[in-house]
């Protein structure tokens, strides 16, 4: 059965069964991944995927069902109806109607027109460049080249019709360096239009690993901290759900009801930036047209992120932040490109301003060490000790602990070195950020 046939039958059957509305979300894609190890292809994977999700509105409730077996539309609709019937929540979740979208020009990512053998050669080159960079590079733990392309079609019985396609390229590498008994790893990636830059990627990863050699903990206590861009991106990503109106309405966000209030230092401005060239999009996971908006302006919370359900409940308009992590998942809320606005200071100027404290370049354990409800985090970290504005030595095996909301209030300078982190249910961008105090546990 072709997808258009499936879709037509599903829509007709849902209407016949008394569903007030029916929506289909179809995604298909292909992906390619190759890892190099010791000059050989190590892990190699190619794929083709396709799946369709149906969402029905029945008796004022919505139910979902997803399948990768495109063959029995009636059974899928039955599952969705069955699910709609067990919902108790009174929240209305409207579907989007026909919309006009802004035209998006998205540049092809770097590996789109590369042949398979080119991509394999790139992986081997990336590993080789790391090994040649420095005699202390003993091995490359991971070395990966990935390319993916996909398209999404959304349509519903209210007239919505939205289609998009995109492709992505990313390379990343983790070399391991050794000096005496000590082993350290480094990491770097390149994505989008820069994904063929094996040289830059290898150089950055090896420098990252070497810079950690000789690291040791610092004494426990409170420190002034300079968070480097990727570390701050990781925190933004880990606490993005605080900005979700859904979490707020469920009582699971400290930002609930704080619109219009100062929640951060006046130097902090945070954008939700859907047309950013790094991942531009015309519409969100419900087909609502996207818009660029300021989420925190000079410390003041201007808006939470909404989809159609939370907007209806709050008596507002959707902000175009409906998310669908995959066709199989239900509609949620996520930022598009969450970008902390740069300040004017160079990295060196920030170091001088830090004077005495710590540079935190890397945070680990983000899937476990953060509590998005309380805002608390306690994470393994590494970086550098700074005395009198100069880096003195690497620091490892420490934890930094704090609260995300408190941290936003304690920001006292931002750099001009904006970086985009690897996309992870949304894209995140931040410059280096100077923070008044974080608690550090060393030994």
């Amino acid at each position: 059965m072709t997808y258009p046939e499936f879709s037509k039958q599903a829509m007709a059957y849902a209407a016949e069964q008394g569903c007030a509305a029916c929506e289909l979300f179809y995604a298909n894609g292909e992906s390619f991944e190759v890892n190099a190890n010791d000059g050989e292809i190590d892990r190699y994977s190619v794929s083709r995927e396709a799946g369709v999700s149906v969402r029905v509105s029945l008796g004022g409730h919505e139910g979902y069902a997803y399948t990768e077996a495109i063959g029995d539309p009636e059974r899928l609709v039955d599952h969705a109806m069955d699910n709609a019937l067990c919902i108790d929540s009174e929240d209305e979740h409207p579907m989007q109607t026909k919309q006009a979208y802004r035209a998006i020009t998205r540049e092809d990512s770097a590996l789109k027109d590369r042949s398979e053998s080119d991509r394999i050669a790139l992986a081997k080159q990336l590993e080789d460049l790391c090994l040649k960079q420095d005699p202390r590079v003993k091995r490359v733990v991971y070395c990966s080249v990935e390319y993916g392309a996909g398209s999404v079609v959304m349509e519903n019985s209210l007239g919505l019709c939205a289609e998009k396609s995109s492709n992505s390229s990313v390379i990343y590498v983790m070399p391991s360096v050794q000096a005496g008994e000590e082993v350290q790893t480094g990491f770097a990636f390149r994505m989008g239009g820069d994904a063929a830059d094996a040289e830059g990627c290898a150089k950055e990863a090896v420098e990252d690993a070497l810079s950690k050699l000789g690291g040791s903990p610092v004494d426990s206590g409170c420190y002034r901290v300079l968070l480097k861009p990727y570390a701050m991106c990781d925190l933004l990503s880990a606490f993005a759900s605080m900005f979700s109106a859904d979490e707020a309405q469920k009582g699971c966000s400290l930002l609930a009801g704080k619109e219009g209030q100062l929640i951060a230092n006046e130097r902090v401005t945070l954008w939700d930036d859907p047309f950013n060239p790094v991942a531009p999009r015309a519409f969100d996971g419900e087909g609502t047209p996207c818009e660029t908006k300021v989420v925190i302006q000079n410390g003041e919370l201007k808006t939470l992120l909404h989809n159609l359900k939370t907007a209806k409940k709050a008596g507002l308009q959707s902000t175009g932040n409906a998310s669908r992590r995959s066709a199989a998942s239900t509609v949620g809320i996520a930022p598009s490109v969450f970008r902390l606005e740069c300040g004017g200071a160079t990295y060196d100027a920030l170091l001088a301003e830090l004077k005495d404290g710590l540079v935190i370049s890397e945070l680990e354990g983000l899937h476990a060490g953060v509590d998005a409800v309380s805002g608390d985090f306690s994470l393994k970290a590494s970086g550098f000790l700074v005395e009198n504005g100069a880096v003195v030595r690497p620091v490892s095996n420490i934890t930094v602990a704090g609260n995300f909301v408190a941290l936003l209030k304690h920001v006292f300078a931002l750099g001009c070195d904006l970086r985009y982190s690897l996309p992870h249910s949304g894209c995140y961008a931040s410059p280096s950020v100077l923070v008044n105090e974080l608690t550090v546990a060393g030994c």
């Binding site: 190590d42 069902a65 969705a80 082993v183 426990s220 009582g251 476990a368 994470l379 602990a401």
Partner: protein, 456 residues
Amino acid sequence: MLAEAQRSGADYAELFVEDTQSSRIEMIDGKVESANYARLCGAGVRVLLGTKSAYAYSADTSERALLETARAAAAALGEAKHAPNEAIFLAQTRHTTPVLLPFDQIGNADRVRVMREGARVMKAASSEVTQALVRYLDQVQRVTIVSTDGVFVSDERPRTRIFLQAVAMKNGEAQTGYDGPGCCRGFEAYRDVIDVERSAQVAADMAVTMLHAPECPAGYLPVVIDGGFGGVIFHEACGHSLEATAVGRNNSVFCGKLNTKIAADCVSAVDDGTFPGEWGSINVDDEGGAPKRNLLIENGILKGYLIDKLGSRRMDMPSTGSSRRQGYTYAPTSRMTNTFICAGTDDEEEMIASMGEGLYAKKMGGGSVNPPTGEFNFTVAEGYWVRNGKIVSPVRGATLIGKGSEVLQKIDRVGKTMWMAPGMCGSLSGTVPTNVGQPRLRVSGITIGGKGGAIE
């Protein structure tokens, strides 16, 4: 299909076909918020030539698509060389998990009834519990694995888990407590094995206790880690470093350490996928091999690794029935099943009474580890500060950091009763259900992270 996959000279080819159906329901404060059904279908073809491997998969399982997938896998190894070797003899084996109440014979009403019970208990536990979240999952994964080794097995893998989370709030502060029992059985699990009310009480008590807990102080001190989910520390800091994915590529601190001492004498550890109905158990591994009880550490001496087929080629050691994958979108690799530190001989109360000042980690949270260095970090979801051998206060926000190889040497007490708890483990071959476990044990010193001052 296997012949097609071997056209470029692969010495091994394997087909994995999957059809998985799952139901997920989420409930907040006793009201069902969302319900989702998903059916994942697809197939993957893997080929090996020596230690080279390639994997191709497709959501389309038609004959034409499977042949194309097989060709794509073959092409990754190089040009077509020769027709494959001799005929393959396949003898089919079927596995099933004994189930009394299959998930396709119950309705959402049955699922919701169990969930409501959990929500009710959490809400009733304390007026400070402001939100009760219940997530329910059941799933049946049906797989068929065929390989040029003559493997032809099919397996049916039912699994269910209920996750209960209570949020307690006071003066703008929020703390969460949770419990998430799960097992490989049918819906009868909620009658026979899983006590939803008890788990709900555990979740609520934890949230309320933590709400009134001061921040944990930082320092390097003794830590007593409780049984059950406390085993996550061994899982993350040692288990992953014993997998062939790390050992076979020389990315593990335990490379070349077989039959040498890597842990204190009181430490023995096992990975055992054969327990009937346990969350991490498997009837057959994802290369069609039989699961085993694999002795990893015996009285501090390293005795074994967890090895899949590719790892077995890299390490020149036999496979241990440890090959697992999330589903057809992942090539299989060496993974854990039910992994635990074995029961010891020490008294559970004495180890706290004699510890002086330190932390009693009653419930561990999640964590992660960097396998090449063995450095790990874990959160302590429910912790208590101990002074002069007595528990003086609950503490929140604690983290434990260190090196797996060092912590293993510093275990100085191992309790008499081992128990396990379920988790989801993410690695190269996706996310698979695993049990972690241990008795209550003590580490003589470990770095505790936290932002609190001294506990009065």
